[in-house]
């Protein structure tokens, strides 16, 4: 059933023509959503090939299984060795099914946490790549503690004693994204989105109909620009005109440059400074009256 729904989504996305023209018009939030989900948009596998070298994939959560919706392992960027962890979407139906559309289960989040602790043991900075519609909403995920696995990651990431950079390359889908997203730096590609709920989900609750998704997308302020303005993210990586899918090489070279610069700047801090800064960063998030 989930497969059928997913395939339908891909087919629909393929048919959609993007009217995006970065030179002349401001892109609407909903258009950005469509670009972020574009079937040809570069995914983690593309960045592994074009930005990183010597990727050593590591498998399993040591408790239940190996979730292919999140992958990770040692990787090198320039001369810098890192632990790379990210959501693993596909580009065609077979890949999508294999990787569960990048929707991770508890074993995926637990594998991610295991690798983060391994990074701490090896004293390697962590790069997490976010690209998921959300954590998998299925029976077995609930049964095995989807909420607990995400909660534990978010909590333990606060105390991981190496720098963490989180980069949203496509969809930042709610808790499923945040489960590997508590970084010292949060970066986004210019057409990526990051949202507390999918625009469709929000529309069907607050507008009582998923067809109002474009309105919800606008109201939720999910674009990189809006998130930068609200002090949620630290930096936007500019995509090639027309979107990341139009020029993989240029996109990869931008990502390479920005990641290296941020890795370098984070390497200047002691562990204590790093953890204090991380605590302050997340303590300061939110707007309220006092």
């Amino acid at each position: 059933m989930v497969v059928a729904t997913g395939v339908k989504v891909i087919e629909k996305a393929k048919k959609q023509k993007l009217s995006h023209n970065s030179k002349t018009s401001k892109v609407s939030a909903w258009e950005t959503v469509k670009i972020s989900r574009h079937p040809q948009r570069p995914i983690l596998q593309d960045y592994i090939q074009k930005v990183f070298t010597n990727f050593v994939e590591l498998h399993g959560d040591r408790a239940f299984g190996d979730d292919t919706a999140i992958i990770g392992g040692f990787a090198q960027i320039g001369n810098q060795k890192v632990m790379l962890i990210g959501h693993n979407k596909g580009k065609n139906t077979t890949e999508h099914i294999e990787r569960n559309f990048g929707m991770a289960k508890p074993e995926g989040y637990r594998k991610a946490l295991r690798l983060m602790k391994l990074a701490q043991r090896f004293n390697l900075p962590i790069v997490t790549i976010i690209d998921t519609p959300g954590a998998f909403p299925g029976l077995e995920a609930e049964e095995r503690g989807q909420a607990e696995s995400i909660a534990r990651n978010i909590t333990e990431m606060a105390n991981i004693e190496v720098p963490i950079i989180s980069l949203v390359i496509g969809e930042g889908g709610s808790g499923g994204a945040l489960g590997i997203g508590v970084g010292d730096r949060i970066l986004m590609l210019s057409n990526a989105i990051y949202s507390v709920i999918s625009p469709e989900g929000c529309a069907s609750i607050l507008w009582r109909d998923a067809k109002y998704a474009p309105d919800a997308a606008e109201a939720l302020k999910i674009t990189a620009q809006a998130l930068l303005e609200n002090n949620i993210i630290d930096e936007i990586i500019k995509e090639p005109a027309g979107g990341a899918h139009t020029d993989y090489e240029q996109m990869a070279s931008e990502v390479n440059k920005v990641l290296l610069r941020n890795l370098k700047s984070l390497s200047n801090y002691s562990v204590a400074e790093l953890l204090d800064m991380r605590f302050e960063k997340y303590s300061a998030m939110g707007k309220f009256a006092e």
């Binding site: 059933m1 995400i150 998030m285």
Partner: protein, 275 residues
């Protein structure tokens, strides 16, 4: 207006207060009995919601509770408007309806003589949703526990992150958990009581991170919504799915405690804290 319509209208409020209709077993319970039983159905043991202040009265030693951070309240920072109106108006309406200014009350007090810092969520305020103000209060109370070395008890009742605050609300998950992480590091106990209902982003952050996770009978606790899961798997879920009993069976909570026993249970657990 004729005399008999008037007579019926006058009777209405009486009918409301005298009898309570149990949401679960549908039986009619004498209002006084319902209240005396702490909003728990004497017939089927359904634990109906109670307000934060009712819970404080129930659990804390008389006069020992001191509210903290009570001035924090939500703002409509995204100018969020949906079909039913603006978030700004919803905030005002919820403040008026509930008499509180955020979905959580924070403070410190004594449970049978044991000093604790606490946060008690209130489902009446925007469905107990986790907004920026909620996150700030829960973090501040955690920091208070950290500074004074007090055990921290959070009572959750929430539909999840507050959509009207966008990613600001999502980030409250990281913010509150950062507070929990500091308590962990200093070996200060954190007890999470998951009440009906605790779902979405609240379950996927501090509520699941208790050193002890406690619940009340029948409480609904889950991550994804029941309907969403049914749509995903294309079949009906078992009745007990995402209940406290289901979570106990699957190893995610330590104990299910009857409302009337909660004060004794917490005091007993706190008595083991030997630092």
């Amino acid at each position: 207006m004729s005399w008999y319509t008037k007579a019926i209208e006058e009777k209405k409020p009486h009918r409301k207060t005298l009898w309570v209709h149990c949401k679960k077993c549908k039986s009619h319970i004498w209002g006084e009995e319902w209240e005396k039983n702490l909003n728990v159905c004497p017939n089927c043991n359904y634990h109906d919601t109670i307000t934060s202040w009712q819970r404080i009265e129930l659990l804390f030693d008389k006069g020992s509770f001191h509210e903290l951070f009570e001035n924090i309240s939500p703002v409509d920072s995204l100018n969020f408007t949906d079909l039913k109106g603006s978030y700004k108006d919803k905030i005002q309406a919820n403040k008026k309806k509930s008499g509180i200014s955020e979905s959580v009350i924070t403070g410190h007090g004594k449970i049978k003589g044991f000093n604790v810092a606490t946060a008690i969520m209130d489902f009446r305020f925007l469905g107990g949703s986790l907004g920026s103000g909620t996150g700030e209060k829960i973090l501040q109370a955690a920091n208070f526990a950290y500074d004074y070395g007090l055990p921290y008890i959070v009572f959750s009742a929430s539909g999840g992150a507050r959509m009207q605050e966008g990613v600001l609300s999502l980030m409250q998950m990281a913010k509150t958990c950062a507070g929990v992480a500091r308590l962990n590091k200093k070996n200060i106990p954190f007890i999470s009581v998951l009440l009906n209902p605790t779902t979405g982003g609240v379950t996927a952050s501090y509520a699941m991170m208790g050193d002890l996770n406690i619940s009340e009978p029948g409480a609904v606790i889950g991550f994804a919504g029941r309907r969403v899961i049914e749509q995903t798997i294309g079949e009906k879920l078992p009745d007990d799915f995402q209940t406290a009993e289901y979570l106990l069976e699957h190893g995610f909570i330590d104990s299910i405690v009857q409302r009337k026993d909660m004060r004794d249970y917490l005091a007993n657990v706190l008595s083991y804290y030997n630092r």
